[in-house]
Symmetry: C2
Subunit: 109 residues, 2 copies
């Protein structure tokens, strides 16, 4: 569950600007401010069901952006490659660095 929340938050960091102001606000109240569905409903003057539906819809939108654009996936892969390159640099392993840079280049096409 915590893993799923972390995942959603990472996607929100990347794709949040593509959501509407209202979608963003409800997401933040729930996931960042830790308000309950009922509390958000009261604050936004909408039904509890509407809050629930919005959260569902936002999760679906964020997952869909990632499915199509894969920014998060690529970020993680590239970060792993950079970490390996740092190790290769420490060892002054030129061929290692070269090979990793080749993969990174391919990954970024």
């Amino acid at each position: 569950m915590l893993e799923k929340i972390t995942h959603l938050n990472e996607l929100f960091d990347i794709y949040g600007q593509l959501l509407t102001t209202k979608q963003k606000r409800i997401f933040e109240l729930y996931y960042h401010e830790d308000l309950s569905l009922g509390e958000i409903a009261e604050e936004e003057e909408i039904s509890r069901q509407a809050v629930y539906d919005t959260l569902k819809r936002v999760a679906h939108l964020l997952e869909n952006y990632e499915r199509v654009l894969q920014i998060q996936k690529q970020k993680k892969e590239n970060y792993e490659l950079i970490r390996k390159m740092e190790l290769a640099i420490e060892k002054k392993d030129f061929n290692g660095i070269k090979g990793l840079l080749e993969i990174l280049k391919e990954n970024m096409r």
Copy 2:
């Protein structure tokens, strides 16, 4: 003009999957198949004005995705960094490689 078309096509490659099927088709007929507005209107059985509006709307959507997500901009920056790293590797310039990797890492946050 050619520069603008190349730019739009690059954005389409990145964000095209976020468009509707119809938006994608009209973009492709115009920019890839080189059909005129009139020809597309006939093929799609819509008005010439509707074709024009769709192309305008698609350009706006693509530019907006890039404004928010900046995938293309980051791609170009990272590609430039990788090119510089390749030169630094050729020269066996360890400090150069390290510095560039640091920038690349920062860029990918």
